[in-house]
Symmetry: C2
Subunit: 255 residues, 2 copies
DNA sequence: GCGGCTGACTTACGGCGTAAGTTTGCTTAC
DNA sequence: GTAAGCAAACTTACGCCGTAAGTCAGCCGC
């Protein structure tokens, strides 16, 4: 996740020769200058933004607060990021990239297309659950093109998907149809799942408490209250995915 | 939709020249004072907010602008609405209620549960497509309880759904499972559909123009560009819904 | 006539995104 | 050693935002 900044301690200029004596001495001794200020970078800013959203939610994120988190005035961010909107775009991109980095997600089918889509779906789900507060952003930010559907919203993703399926005997139409079915399946499931996650940690259960009062007129809800509260996200996801794959089997050959 | 503000021409001050006498006289004559100021009301405000979002999108909506649209200072809205957040909640509720008002949506199955779910799904889709800019709000606003899933996010809806299915021979578990499958199906499909709608009217097709340049490394996308651009939302929705109903047929008896 | 109520307007505060300008301190050239 | 160059940060300022608190005009029942 934050693997992009392995050298973030003291990156101020290649510094063939460190300016102040102290710094020199410290470097010579093999220590990192403890108070050396880490310069900003687009990466660092985006990472901090993702972290902030994961911790405190999207609405709390402001340029000023993000600057404070990085120990910097808000305006300093504008050297690396054009503005708030573009920052959010970058956050989305970072998260989408994270899906690609998942080692279990194969770029190309190696054990059949079903295995391929299974791994892909689970990889994306894993990332979504890692960022429950940020995932809605991935889902709802306007895409670059209307056919670039979330959560697979990068050209590279779509290309890999189509290539993978074509390689596995999908006709052109079938591959596109599979792409559409796959994305809307993922979006629906994952959005609801992260919403439930966020709600758990978040606010009050308004409906809950006076179960006998307010639910008097909702006998079915009251009766099924137990089942409604049970969390079957994982198996639900599995079952729906299984069903989708079966459906794609038909599409693959007929469409 | 916008029917709530029939008197929206000149709602500002009652035209100072005509004092109370004139008004009295008019009332005595049985006319409605033609320029009588329509008083604010929660309804009028929420309706205006929905209309504003449909026209100009959510991010442009501010209390000040909404006030201006209603011919009123921003602060006057606070007499009827606790604040911006609650106003958005009310907008969501209004849209959800609109689904219920659809004459084709039956409260109770009359021609079998499949017909019932078909009508329900289409009714909700209709409302979603009527408010493409506002629907994401319905999808992403935190619900009152985690099991109150969008887009069927009111107790009444869920109660009607469960009651309808129970009446049609669904076991308790099957009904709940159906509820979950149905909502995630709707959410995925409709969110993608309204996103595509919004994108059409909205911004630039960045990816599009230099099709031969930027897509050089994405041969599949370039080859399938035609298919990717085609709009099959309606049949896609139909097919997926059909598939879902078949799946629910199994769940109905076995689960 | 009057006191209070209703429904609007006015003022004010702190936070927001960000355009524009300014300071700081290291790097490099002479 | 000093001066020029320059990147990276800070400072100021503007207009918009949500909204707390106070004000004021007209209408009601007494």
């Amino acid at each position: 996740m934050a693997g992009a900044q392995e050298g973030d301690d003291r990156t101020t200029h290649p510094a063939p020769d460190q300016g102040p004596l102290d710094a020199d001495a410290r470097v010579a001794r093999g220590e990192d200058a403890p108070s050396a200020r880490v310069p900003l970078s687009t990466e660092r800013i985006v990472d901090a933004a993702v972290e902030f959203i994961d911790d405190s939610g999207l609405p709390g994120l402001s340029m000023r607060r993000l600057g404070a988190l990085l120990g910097v005035e808000a305006m300093s961010l504008y050297r690396y990021v054009p503005g708030r909107e573009q920052l959010l775009d970058a956050v989305v991109e970072r998260i989408v990239d994270q899906m690609e980095a998942d080692p279990d997600v194969l770029e190309t089918p190696e054990h059949g297309w079903q295995d391929y889509l299974q791994r892909l779906a689970h990889g994306i789900r894993r990332v979504a659950l890692t960022h429950p507060k940020a995932f809605p952003l991935v889902a709802s930010r306007p895409a670059e093109a209307p056919w670039l559907r979330p959560p697979l919203r990068s050209l590279r993703w779509v290309e890999a998907f189509l290539e993978g399926l074509a390689r596995e005997g999908f006709s052109d139409n079938a591959a596109v149809e599979a792409y559409r079915a796959f994305t809307s399946f993922l979006l629906g499931h994952l959005l609801l799942e992260v919403a439930a996650l966020g709600a758990d940690l978040g606010p009050l259960d308004v409906v809950e408490e006076d179960a006998d009062n307010s639910l008097a007129f909702y006998p079915n809800i009251r009766r099924l209250s137990g089942q409604l509260h049970e969390d079957h996200s994982a198996t639900e996801f599995e079952d729906s995915l299984e069903n989708l794959l079966q459906r794609l089997t038909l599409i693959r050959t007929e469409s």
